[in-house]
Each structure stands twice: as C-alpha cells, then as structure tokens.
C-alpha cells in the first residue's frame, strides 16, 4: 500500500495509479484556482471550454489548422535536412567552423531580421518559411552537435578494428547509429517550431493559420477565443510530442527493449 508521505519524498517511486491520481488532482486544483482568480480579464475555464468547441466546429478552423500544420512540417522538414547535413559534416574539419557559427546564431533575434528577410523573399509564404528555418536550425544543430560530442570514442575505435574507413565510420556511428536520437531532437524541437508558427503567421496573414486566428482574436479582445486557441495549440503540441515518441519506439526498437540485468 502506498504511503502518503512518499508523494513528498525525493526520488520516491509511486504506483502508476497514484501518478494518474496525482495528475488529475493537481489539474483540478489548477482549474479551481483559475476559476477563482478570474476577475473579468481572464475568462472562466467553463467559457474557454465552450469556446474551444465553438472554434473547433467553426468553418474556418480546419483550413487554418491545416495551414499551420503544413507550414510547421515544411519548416521542420527543411530545417532538419539543413541541420543534419551541417551537423554530420561538422566532424570534417573544413565544416566545423560553419557548424560552430550556426550554433551561435541562436542568439540573433529574429525581430531585427524580419525587414531583411522581407526584402530577400518574394512572397509571404517564403518569408514565413525562411524565418521558421532560420529560427529552428541553430537549435537543431546545437542538439545534434551535443549528440555527436557524447559519442564514445571507443565506437570509432571499434570501427577501426572492423577495418572501416573514416566515411563508413561516420555513417555507422554518427548517422545510422544516432538516428533514434535525431528523432528525439526532432521531438524536442517540434515545440520550438510549433511555438514559432504563431509568430511567423502573424507576419503574413494572407494564408491563414492558427497564428492568424490568434492575432485577429487578440485585436478584437475576444479573450475566450484567444484562450481557446492557446489550449488547442497546446494540446496539438502535446499530441505530436506523444506521436513522435511512439514513432521513435516503433522505428528504433532498441531504444525501448528490456535491458538485461
């Protein structure tokens, strides 16, 4: 039987049912606090719930939702390709400075570069995708370089004993050997892409998207819809996080197989 004091004990292991119970209880407390703290500015959770249903069942929702999703996937796809090429090549001395430079670019604020990107791109769609890629790639590369740095040198030595050349070693150890971790990086960075999507959609509203809906609702101080959209964006983000996690376990079974004692 579970000891109640274990819920406040560091490193205590709780049974699954207790974890679920704790999660539900804390979510209820949060909802109650939200309900009680509303002073007119923040909409009531019940109103937000109603608004979620209203937004999801509206005619415009699916079109805007798919626009955001398409833009995110396109941005993620191109970003991961660029990031992978730069990261894999970073083990070649010629390309290391390029990788180091791109990693540092994550400290460049996008806001100051919007005008430049507007000049460089031909339409709103290109502007959004360019900003998204520019925003995501440095974070992708930072995570990928950290994976490469963590590779045990003995793996390269093993390749040498198996008479593999340096390019085959790169393929076996860094590329194929770490594909599962690349997917994990994608999962972690999907949050950044999904978060950025509303920002870039606000720059060019002609193609719609959840970001456009959010900005319009903010403009008319329709806080119920704003909160409803925030919750939808949040839940979709959680869903893709879960989906990518499942995909990783399915594609790379060695990441979830039972470890021998």
């Amino acid at each position: 039987m579970m000891q109640w004091k274990s819920i406040v004990e560091p490193f205590a292991k709780l049974p699954r049912s207790a974890v679920v119970g704790l999660l539900i209880a804390e979510a209820l407390v949060a909802l109650v606090l939200w309900h009680l703290s509303g002073d007119g500015l923040i909409p009531d959770p019940i109103d937000v719930g109603r608004s979620v249903v209203k937004v999801v069942t509206s005619d415009a929702f699916m079109e805007n939702f798919l626009a955001s999703l398409f833009l995110t996937f396109k941005g993620m796809g191109i970003s991961i390709l660029i990031a992978l090429v730069i990261s894999y090549l970073s083990v070649v001395p010629l390309f290391k400075p390029l990788a180091d430079l791109v990693v540092r670019l994550r400290y460049l604020t996008l806001t100051g570069l919007i005008f430049l990107f507007t000049l460089l791109t031909q339409n709103g769609s290109q502007l959004k995708i360019s900003l998204l890629i520019f925003g995501i790639v440095p974070f992708f590369i930072t995570s990928l370089l950290s994976i490469i740095a963590d590779i045990d040198k003995q793996e390269a030595e093993l390749c040498k004993t198996l008479r593999m050349g340096p390019w085959r070693t790169l393929w076996e150890v860094v590329i194929v050997g770490r594909l599962d971790q690349v997917l994990e990086v994608m999962r972690q960075n999907f949050a950044i892409a999904w978060m950025m999507i509303t920002m870039v959609e606000g720059l060019s509203m002609s193609e719609g998207g959840l970001g456009t809906m959010l900005i319009k609702s903010n403009k008319y101080i329709d806080m119920d819809t704003v909160f409803a959209l925030l919750i939808i964006i949040f839940l979709v983000g959680l869903f893709f996080d879960w989906l990518l996690g499942r995909l990783r376990a399915w594609l790379f079974p060695y990441t979830s197989v039972q470890t021998a004692k």
């Binding site: 045990d152 003995q154 793996e155 030595e157 093993l158 040498k160 004993t161 198996l162 008479r163 593999m164 076996e172 194929v176 050997g177 594909l179 599962d180 790379f252 079974p253 060695y254 197989v257 039972q258 470890t259 021998a260 004692k261």
Partner: protein, 265 residues
C-alpha cells in the same frame, strides 16, 4: 610437454609513451608462434600490471590505435609496423553497435574480411560460430538485451569474424563472478585452439586468471628510480609446466607462484 617456439609474429621494440610525464618506457617483448604436434596451438599471452600503470596505453599502441612516442610495434611474419584494424580489440565494456542486432553486429565484422562471402555464406558462418559461442538463441537480440557475459562473447566473436589472428582483450575477467571467469577462460582457450596463428593478448591486473590461461606472461611494472613502467619480467609458463593445464588454479605450486607474482606488480 613437446612444443616449439618458432618465428616471431609480434614484437614491441623500445615502445614508450610520454604525456606530461613518462607513462611507458622501453617496452620490449616478442611473441613467438608456438607449435605442438597434432594440435592447432595458438598463443595466449598476458600483460599483467596494477591499475593505472599504463596498460590501456600499451593496449592501444599494440592495436595500432595510438602512436607511441618512441619505438615500434611490428606484426605478422614479415614484422611490418602494426596498423589500426590488423589487431582485434575486445574492450573492457564489450562495446557493440547498439543499433544493430547480434546477427548484424557479427555480419558487419565480416564485410571487410579478406575472404569474400555471399550473404548466404555469411549467415552460415555466423550460424556455425554462434553455436560454438552459445549465442544462437541471442542472434535477434540487441546488445542492451544481453548480459555482460553474452556481450563479451559477441565482442570476441565479432573480432574473430573479421579474420584477424591477433586479439587484444582488456581486463576480460573484470566484474565477472567465479563461474563466469571459468567460462571465459574456457572460451578463450577454445579460440586459441581454433587456428595455429591465433594470438590472444590479455591485458589484466588479475594475476591468477591471467596466468592460468597464458603460455607466456609479461609483468608491466615501475622500476625504482626510473620513470614510467616497463616490462620487468617475462614468465615462460610452458617452461614452468603451468601452461595448457585445465585445472592449474587448483595446483598448490601455481597458487604459490601467483602469490609471488602479485608482490612484483
């Protein structure tokens, strides 16, 4: 015990390595091809030294992974300088490709062996060797699903399948219980008898087990007043009548001898 020490098949000549201090100094030894009538008798050697003496550095130099500051390691009948890939290594943590199954880990070892095989032949060789190494039921598993002993067997077999005749083993008895040590010794003896030129070099601080399996042992230790470690003693276990004896560890003379060696490292 009838045997002959023939040609030199591996030699270390004045090998030394220095970083901010001298780690190894003038390490010199030879490995001869030992022959016995009616037996494929490979060689089993031990480099015995205490922890931190520079065994791992010597291990890497012998494998051609690390260039020594002085001296050369030569290998083969023509005694050419060793190159990475000519000597197999079985590291202490029995490293394998985590993203490949046992079958794939073994298959990849044969991709670059001198003998070219078809896919069917490769599978057949893996099947035969897996039976010998008691790995048949584990071929579809990933390394993370194996026990330490099973991983060690895969690691040794992986190196054998590359076609290399010389295999270095880093602390092969480390972290194993008594029963497992017996199994490892049995396996290594089996490997040494698979081919006339098979040469196992065990780098270990476990004096008793290293001596029990070896035909020759080299003591790696520091000498008073001299920097770094070097080979301070070569032990001919065949000459002492202590090689190739299955139950040598039960022998009182062997146990006494082991105790003497322990005081020298």
């Amino acid at each position: 015990m009838t045997h002959t020490r023939n040609e030199i098949i591996l030699s270390a000549e004045g090998v030394g390595i220095t970083y901010d201090r001298v780690i190894l100094r003038d390490v010199t030894f030879q490995v001869h091809n030992i022959t016995r009538p009616e037996v494929y008798q490979g060689q089993v050697l031990s480099l015995i030294g205490r922890s931190g003496i520079g065994k791992t550095q010597l291990f890497k130099i012998l494998a051609g992974m690390l260039k020594p500051t002085t001296g050369t390691v030569r290998i083969g009948l023509d005694l050419h300088p060793v190159q990475a890939g000519e000597v197999g290594i079985v590291p202490q943590n029995y490293l394998l490709f985590r993203h490949r199954t046992v079958q794939q880990n073994l298959g990849i070892a044969m991709e670059r062996s001198e003998k070219k095989r078809t896919e069917a032949e490769t599978k057949e060789v893996i099947k035969e060797h897996s039976e010998l190494f008691q790995l048949t039921e584990h071929l579809a598993k990933y390394p993370s699903q194996l026990s330490g002993g099973q991983r060690q067997r895969v690691s040794i077999l992986q190196q054998i399948l590359t076609g290399t005749k010389t295999i270095l083993l880093d602390e092969p008895f480390s972290g194993l219980d008594v029963l497992m040590v017996d199994k490892v010794i049995e396996l290594l003896v089996k490997v040494s008898l698979m081919d006339e030129h098979n040469t196992l070099i065990i780098v270990s601080h476990d004096v008793e087990n290293a001596l029990a399996i070896s035909d020759t042992a080299f003591i790696l230790a520091a000498q008073q007043g001299e920097p770094g470690a070097t080979i301070t003693e070569t032990i001919d276990l065949i000459g002492l009548g202590m090689a190739w004896e299955k139950d040598i560890r039960q022998n009182a003379r062997f146990r006494e001898f082991t105790e003497q060696i322990k005081h020298k490292i």
